[in-house]
């Protein structure tokens, strides 16, 4: 592999990490509250409101049913509004975040829903308000699942970021298509695949370790 290609590879790794990390962070910040809202407003939840629940559910399902490559293009006006451009790595973070947030919200929702209702009742019986229940019961008890779900979301984002090359965002997927596939640079293709395997395994390993440390359920 030539030094130029190697430099390209390094830059692509950085772009992928940036896209995955930034959109992962954003999906955590918005997806977790959204997941909490989905659980809290559902029937029997701590802030039961079936109307709100239905609207939130529909929005989440709407975004989740659009294929990412279409979302990437359809969101161009929104992207331009937020980052000032519709091209490049930062521009890709907007559609990636918007796709990952409802995805992560659903993943977090599943973990939050599994928290034993008896624990919520115990917190209510102690005089806890909704915020107490969220802070002391729902989130800490669901934390292993919330972290495991975040790991899955990050790995999914690495895959989705490969499509971001379509709007000039770069990244490993883009490198593999333009050099490895279109220019028959087999060494680039192999290098990209190896780097992706290492990235995915690393994230999964770190996530699993963290879950094992957090899980006190015996």
């Amino acid at each position: 592999m030539s030094p130029i290609l190697f430099e390209l590879l390094l830059r692509s790794i950085w772009e992928t990490i940036l896209m995955t990390g930034a959109s992962g962070f954003i999906s955590l910040v918005f997806g977790l509250p959204l997941g909490l809202a989905l659980v809290a407003t559902d029937r029997g939840g701590i802030a039961e409101s079936l109307g709100v629940n239905r609207v939130l559910g529909a929005v989440v399902n709407g975004f989740r049913s659009v294929p990412f490559i279409i979302l990437l293009v359809a969101l161009i006006p929104v992207t331009r509004l937020i980052v000032g451009t519709s091209i490049g790595t930062w521009a890709a973070i907007v559609p990636l975040s918007i796709a990952a947030t409802p995805y992560y919200a659903r993943v977090a929702e599943v973990s939050l829903r599994e928290v034993d209702h008896g624990l919520i009742e115990a917190a209510r019986a102690m005089g806890g308000n909704r915020w107490t229940i969220i802070r002391e019961v729902l989130v800490p008890e669901a934390l292993p699942g919330i972290v495991a779900g975040f790991t899955v979301t990050l790995v999914t984002l690495i895959g989705a970021s490969a499509m971001a090359g379509a709007i000039g965002a770069g990244g490993l997927g883009d490198l593999a298509i333009r050099y490895g596939y279109q220019r028959f640079e087999t060494s680039v293709m192999i290098a990209v695949v190896i780097v992706l395997i290492i990235l995915v395994c690393g994230i999964q390993w770190a996530g699993d370790r963290l879950v094992a440390r957090l899980d006190r359920r015996g």
Binding site: D116, E121, A123, A125, M126, G127, G128, E136, P140, G218
Partner: protein, 362 residues
Amino acid sequence: MNQHFPATAEIPVDTTERPEEVVRLTALKRRFGVTPALDGVSLTVRKGEILGIIGRSGAGKSTLIRCLNGLERPDSGQVFIEGREISRLGEHELQPLRRRIGMIFQHFNLLSAKTVEDNVALPLKIEGRPRAERLARAAELLELVGLSEKAKAYPASLSGGQKQRVGIARALAARPALLLSDEATSALDPETTRSILALLKDINRQLGLTILLITHEMEVIRSIADRVAVIDAGRIVEEGPVWSVFADPKSAITQSLLGAIRPQLPAEIASRLTHGAGTEAILKIDVAGEAARGPLLSDLAAAVPGSFRLVHGGIDHVQRQPVGTLFLAVPGNDANHLTRVIAFLKAREARVEVLGHVANPV
């Protein structure tokens, strides 16, 4: 008061003295769909007493106990806690009130992500107390329940009995005026159940804490309750001091719940009972109070010559009152003899029932 067994000075619950009411329920009703869970329940719990509510599953016990801290709202009727009507209060107003009421649960409901001491301290965290104060109080309570060495452990490493001890410590953290126990021993083995009940009784005596417990086990009522209320299909069908309800259960449901802990006629005798004549009559004798304390059987032998045999039975002590059931076999070929035996026992305020006759001595 029970007519068969007049009150004596030793009866623990003195009806002439009325300590202040911690809980008063009036005509509480709650229905789920068409099924009434509570169908007009009125009850009072006085300061310092242990009131046990017993009923089968689905009798309305859980709904009842949840009405006391506003986890469940009655359709009609009133709930007074320390004189304040709470059944119409909003969630926000209920929160400070719930801190006056501790609650323990069948499945303990400890937070798996928190250490034992943080679980115990949680009610104080909710109250907004500083961390040092919370941990000091948690240490004090863990010592009370005998789990000081487990302060830094996580609940998953504890046995069921230890978990419930943590649950009790947590329920006491905010110094409640009332402790609600929702089938607290139903998930525990008999030995652990006894130790948890002993702990609750201890806390009741030491701290003067009022306890309302619900259970489906008469044994729980027998061991620690002062008064018992029997609930069936959303109604209180019987209520009174435990010893007096045990001595003379009025309702069929109470009798059936008591069946589990009272002597029953052995099956091999029961299967041979006939209603015709036989060589022996089998009598069931319920005794309590003076009748159970005195030398009833030797007096019977002296007063009515002629043999009788004790077939089965025993005297239990409930709230320091003897309460028992005896099964006697009396020679049945002389009707006059049987009549005299029954007359003697009735004069001693025992309740006598002729169950039937058996052909050959058993």
